[in-house]
């Protein structure tokens, strides 16, 4: 080692010779792709694959036991002529509409009540959540007993204790009573979700707004109409969207209580899809019914989002 080399070694020499790996990691597109890979993989495996498989099955005549072949839209064509399917479509829409309306009216009312200062507030709020916490299968079985033609607690109280009737109610024995009974059970289960969500929304509304309104001499209705409702809208539309999705794809309540009976009057699309696919072994047909739910769900979601919450807050800016 002589002096000259020692001198040059002190000079700054930019390191131009990166390894190919280093250069690769410096490239932004590559890094972005790499970081997104795990997420993409998860989505692909757990979301796209089952959905894609469902779509594919709906285009085949697969049964349990026989791998099917591609038959195009035949499943959908045959469903188109199936009155049971159309009945299920109609009842699913009806069930969702009525149950959601019920949940929101009662849920909002409950939220307004809970928003007042009550003794044991935290305790009461916890209790209100119970129907939502209890596994649906359990509460479904409870409702099944409540609606039982021979062992109903409601019938027992009305007939044997109060002597208001001389025979038991037949809640599930004919189409309309059965449909309404299921809707009541669904509303019962859904109220807590709506009430607690809206309660959270109510508590974000500044009390100063109500005080200002009070000074201006606003009535209770005016306060509700002009302050509560507009400020609740953002959370209302999110809760509405979720609630519609849950209700539309409901399965457990109906399957545990009526299995779609009497004479298919209470089949939802989800229960019919299951009945045809698993106990009935017609996987292709069941998948076709399940796939038919997608357009309805898309429309419902879009209506909720753009119909109810057509405000700029969704884009993150102020209202006016």
């Amino acid at each position: 080692m002589d002096a000259t080399t020692a001198e040059t070694s002190l000079q700054w020499v930019p390191r131009r010779q990166h390894s190919w790996l280093g250069r690769l990691f410096d490239s932004k597109p590559f890094l972005v792709t790499l970081c997104m890979l795990p997420t993409a993989g998860l989505l692909l495996i757990f979301l796209t694959y089952p959905l894609g498989l469902g779509l594919w099955l709906s285009l085949t005549d697969t049964t349990i036991g026989q791998p099917g072949v591609y038959i195009g839209l035949e499943n959908f064509e045959s469903l188109f002529d199936d009155p049971v399917f159309w009945n299920a479509v109609w009842y699913t829409v009806f069930y969702t509409a009525i149950a959601t309306a019920g949940k929101f009216l009662l849920g909002l009312w409950l939220a307004l009540l809970l928003n007042h200062h009550l003794p044991f507030k935290a305790f009461i709020r916890a209790i209100v959540l119970l129907p939502w916490i209890v596994p649906t299968v359990l509460s479904s079985i409870a409702w099944w007993w409540i609606y039982d033609p021979q062992f109903s607690i409601i019938s027992y109280v009305v007939v044997n204790v109060l002597h208001l009737r001389d025979h038991y109610f037949d809640f599930l024995g004919s189409p309309w009573p059965a449909r309404w009974s299921l809707i009541v059970a669904n509303i019962w289960r859904g109220i807590p979700f709506v009430a607690i969500t809206l309660l959270a929304g109510l508590q974000t509304i500044s009390p100063s707004l109500y005080e200002a309104a009070l000074l201006d001499g606003a009535t209770g209705w005016q306060k509700f109409r002009r302050i509560t409702v507009p400020l609740l809208m953002p959370i209302l539309s999110v809760a509405l969207t979720l609630s519609v999705l849950f209700t539309f794809s409901d399965f457990q309540l109906v399957y545990a209580i009526t299995r779609g009976g009497p004479f298919n009057s209470t089949h939802l699309m989800a229960t019919l899809a299951f009945q045809r696919a698993i106990p009935g072994s017609q996987l292709g047909e069941g998948a076709a019914i399940a796939v038919s739910m997608i357009p309805f769900l898309l429309v419902a979601t879009l209506v909720c989002f753009f119909g109810v919450g057509r405000r700029k807050w969704q884009q993150g800016s102020d209202n006016d």
């Binding site: 049964t63 349990i64 036991g65 026989q66 791998p67 045959s78 199936d82 009155p83 049971v84 609606y147 039982d148 033609p149 021979q150 062992f151 025979h167 038991y168 037949d170 809640f171 599930l172 024995g173 004919s174 189409p175 059965a178 009526t258 299995r259 779609g260 009976g261 009497p262 004479f263 298919n264 009945q275 045809r276 698993i278 106990p279 009935g280 072994s281 017609q282």
Partner: protein, 449 residues
Amino acid sequence: MAGLTRRDTLLSGATALIGAATIPLIGARAADLDVPTKDVKPPSFKIESGATIRVLRPAKFVDPDEVLFRENTKKFTEQTGIPVRVDFVSWEDMLPQTAVTANTGAGPDIIVGFGSAPQIYADKLIPMNDLADYLAAKYGGWHELALIYSRRWGSKEWLAIPMGGSGAASVYRVSWLKEAGYDRIPDDHAGFLAMAEKLNKIGHPIGFALGHAVGDGNGFANWLLWSHGASLTDAAGKVSLDSKETIAALKYAKELYPHMISGTLSWGDPSNNKAFASGDISLTFNGVSIYYVAKNSTDPKLQAIAADTNHQSPPLGLAKKSPQSSLVVNAMAFRHTKYPNACKEYLRFMMEVPQYAPWLAGCLGYWSNSLKAYGQMAFWDADPKLKPYIDSMDTPYYDSYRGPISAASSAVAANYTLVDMFASVATGNATPEAAVKQAARQAARYLKG
């Protein structure tokens, strides 16, 4: 386990051992005495060296079902040195697991599956002619339902060994029928209707499921159809529901319905058991379970009901033999097994008197025998109330009656097509003519129209 001494534990262990040991003994003694067999030389299956067997079967009905099945299997291993593993899976899982096994060619060597499985997977199964013919020769032949379910449709090729069937009979309250003036249930439609009317008048109505109950609802619908000479399909498998016999059955259902307890349209499978056990109904169709549960209950009220309960084969109507089918279990050996002879030897062993007789007796009528000779065992006499279940498999009626057995007919049952047809007419929601047309259309979605 605080508060439980070592001696207690030892004692309870010993009791359990004695209990387990006594069950087969009782049956074995009875078996030696009373199963009439012919002296037939068993087929010699040359067992492959190093053979092992895996068996899949439905979960137990009652405890002895599993205990004795395992006991018999253990005996087989001791005598032959072939290790056998038996897995019990829940009833709902049988269908998909059988499908996966058949399609992938892997998994259990033997599956004891339900009803239509041998027909659906016919090409994946080892023919059983030698074994089936031997058993038939030795034990007085197979019952009719076994011949239907376990041989390839329209041929004499055995696809499986039918191990037994679970059938339904009329379950009724003796004292209430007496009160209405009956010692036994009339076998004709008019008489049955008159009895239902009288029972209802004295406040003890009959009750049959008309709701979406897979077993009971379809069973009642099939009884209505078959006892009127109607059927879902003709012999070629073409839907033949739209007939004057079906219309007659529908009209009969409409007449019967007002005399039934209210609410049967929402009945599920457990509902008639519940209603019978609470004394709300005087008569229904069911397996032996209602009686079994009541008899083995510690509740004196239920025991009184058991004492007052009796069974009778379902009313014949126009049928010559019981118009109720059974849930048949078939032992299938798959072509993918490396030890077909060991499988056959295992099944032969399980069907022979020393094993089969105690198992059948232990199940107390939950399973009925597929081989005729086993109907003469003494245990059927021990409790005469079980007698109607002896003949459960002695009937020509099966789930897709008159047509070939297929997955399609199971689909019709799973969609409650027949149940809904009867329910809508019984309640006056549809005319018989309209209901039968709609049901035929629904059935034709799966069967030939």
